[in-house]
Assembly symmetry: C2
Homo-oligomer: 439 residues x 2
């Protein structure tokens, strides 16, 4: 890198898995990288539910982006929310937390903004049923879970007590399943002998899922086993049901036959769907590409935008061959985009091979000693699945200290059911309802 030449400017929107892996792939390239994120931390999202359930602290799953990238001397991090892209002027417009604006010129743009929680057009549900995408969400959910038991203890009558002891989870994907397992474990083990009036163990956990199975992505055999494990934990599964209304008192659901029922529950958590953040729409309008139904942006086989070889889209917000929104896809697509850009900078003229996702498998934790894992044709569940889950998450968790901390926290929680991070804030701790989050 020669000092007297202005290096090629690369702007990466988003510091999640895709953005981080893209920045890392550019480490030894003579480019000036700017990572823009509305959070100052990189979040290890697959363990966010353990932060909300009191096993891990915020710092164990979220590290400052600029600390993670400290030794990448060509990378700067900017805490701002990208609001628009001017593709003609090659300029990203962003808003700082204090309302000030920034203009970030780029020669190359890597979009890795992720997806946010979707309420399928019912953003008014958000006030009653937080999603699980950010640290703010996780602390909000932690507060709701533990406070519900406190409120039940001093409830005025049995009806009210039952409402506080009923937890409704919307969505039967990994996050919904993990949360369901966590709440049943908290009720049955963590809170053991702490309450004088209520029987915490009697807490009901209802899981609503529109399809016929939980963890459908893991295939029918593992889905069946997951359902069995959940039922044995005491989770009440309501398959084939659509949630039609959410308020402070509970949820209304409609089943396949159109029958509507009402479930009283003071705590409702939402993990049912995702949608692209507004910046994806802005980019689509600026480039003329058409987003898919959830707002994802279709890309060419090399992850560039049609007609815009200088713009690459990676991670959850990328639409390509119906790839799922998994951490692994985000890492691989981010690394691919960074590498492709590095090759271009190095002057390689050969067209890069199309991006190909290598499915290394997926895993979902259900409860202590129970997880389901799918690696190619290998399907694991139960204790063996759980060990593999443990290994995978340790391998990918960022930083040695986080790994050590997580192992210690898991060891104590698995041995004693005690959870260290149960203290919750008085205030909501989450963003105002309906506020967009583009992680």
């Amino acid at each position: 890198m020669q000092d007297h030449v202005t290096p090629r400017r690369v702007v990466i929107l988003g510091g999640g898995f895709a953005g981080l892996f893209a920045a890392r792939a550019l480490r030894h390239s003579p480019v000036a990288v700017t990572v823009v994120d509305r959070q100052a931390h990189h979040l290890f999202q697959p363990l966010l539910y353990q932060c909300s359930s009191g096993i891990l602290s915020e710092g164990q799953i979220a590290q400052p982006l600029r600390k993670v990238l400290r030794r990448h001397h060509n990378v700067d991090c900017v805490l701002a929310d990208a609001t628009d892209v001017d593709v003609k002027a090659q300029l990203v417009h962003a808003r700082r937390p204090d309302g000030g604006t920034l203009e970030l010129p780029y020669d190359d743009l890597i979009v890795a903004v992720g997806m946010r929680q979707s309420y399928f057009g019912h953003d008014e549900f958000a006030a009653y049923a937080p999603g699980m995408k950010t640290l703010d969400d996780a602390l909000d959910i932690r507060r709701r879970i533990y406070r519900a038991f406190e409120m039940a203890e001093t409830a005025e009558d049995d009806d009210e007590r039952r409402r506080w002891l009923t937890f409704a989870l919307v969505g039967g994907g990994p996050t919904g399943v993990e949360l369901a397992g966590q709440i049943r474990e908290i009720a049955g083990h963590t809170l053991d002998r702490e309450f004088r009036t209520i029987d915490a163990e009697a807490a009901r956990v209802l899981l609503f899922e529109g399809s016929d199975e939980v963890l459908g992505a893991f295939g029918p055999a593992l889905a069946r086993r997951a359902a069995r494990t959940l039922r044995s934990l005491g989770v009440e599964l309501h398959m084939g049901t659509i949630v039609t209304d959410v308020d402070a008192d509970g949820v209304s659901v409609r089943d396949r036959n159109g029958a509507v029922s009402r479930f009283a529950a003071r705590t409702v958590l939402w993990t049912a769907g995702v949608e692209a953040p507004p910046i994806a729409g802005a980019l689509a309008r600026a480039t003329g590409v058409e987003q898919d139904r959830a707002g994802r942006i279709p890309v060419e086989p090399d992850l560039t935008l049609a007609g815009h070889p200088e713009i690459r889209v990676t991670g959850d917000v990328m639409s390509l061959n119906r790839l799922p929104g998994l951490a692994e896809v985000a890492m691989q697509s981010g690394a691919y985009a960074g590498r492709a850009l590095r090759h271009a900078v190095e002057g390689r003229t050969k067209r890069p091979k199309p991006f190909k996702y290598r499915d290394l498998g997926s895993a979902a934790y259900i409860c202590r000693g129970r997880a389901v894992v799918k690696v190619g044709r290998l399907h694991l569940s139960g204790v063996l699945g759980w060990f593999v889950w443990l290994f995978i998450h340790l391998a990918f968790l960022t930083g040695f200290r986080s790994r050590l901390g997580a192992v210690l926290s898991w060891a104590v929680t698995f041995a004693t059911s005690s959870r260290r991070e149960r203290a919750f804030l008085s205030s909501k701790g989450g963003p105002p309802p309906g506020a967009g989050e583009s992680r």
Copy 2:
């Protein structure tokens, strides 16, 4: 304890050091204890500043009250805010977090509600200058400290950059001194080589104190040494100054000669004073006792209220012989009140000996390897003081796991300056400005 006799009902207001030690002293008494607190956790307040500075997590300094008291089978915990005391009917009125009300009848009342931050009649300062009394406060301050450096990095001009890199601390007691040391350490060590535009090390920390010295309670010799250590850390001490105004841009101060100056600072933290929460005023009105200037309640030598032998006042909110608001005073007075009550229940008719505070010493941490400690006539500072500080805090921190966790966190932070808990929330995370906190 006979089942067919209704046990004597003891209500303890507050689950801080005083309330916790009172409940513990009643463990083997045939009484029914109810601990009422507006937080569900017991907070180890002396380390709160380490939570705000990113060394410790919330769970390392705050444990669920009902978990701490789990094996005290005669204790129940209630998450509610005591709003009034009906001393004739012997009834505490309280408000649950959802707005519902509770009535708690008592035979004996132990008041241990602590003190909250005081802005000396300027509650409007709270929005710009959070205090440091609760977990919400600590996370709010964590966000303000780390976000300030992020904002400086993308500031529009040098003036704005300087404002973001200036931290004004109001109050030169232990909390103010500890925070000043923490911010200088973060600037000079923790953030080392993470920023590309700003020089984090150049961050200014201004400490404003109305008296002539910091840590005045430690005596002139230690106060001088503390001031020297702070100056060598780069903290700018402004002694003999009163803060007259606080807004989003900084503080206005007046010195002894009446000269007014203005300091631009985007981050202002307030540790200058305390006042009693509203429930103390309600109790004073109900019993006819007169609060002191800060709202503390004067007590008899046995900690009862004049004319109300069934009401005992303990901890920071108790006014007796000008005892300072220290954790140690709270622990001893709470334990005394619990013991006196136990003796009364056991039918001892002998008047208890007056409460006598045994000064076991006090300690304040300044920075890595530097603390001041005063134990009777023994005055320590520097590394030796720091070792004694370490020992004291480990001895008193509640729970084995918290101790182990704190030792590990301290070891890493002291060795590498790295702080694990740097992730901050997007939202304020604190209570709305002016909202009362009575911990």
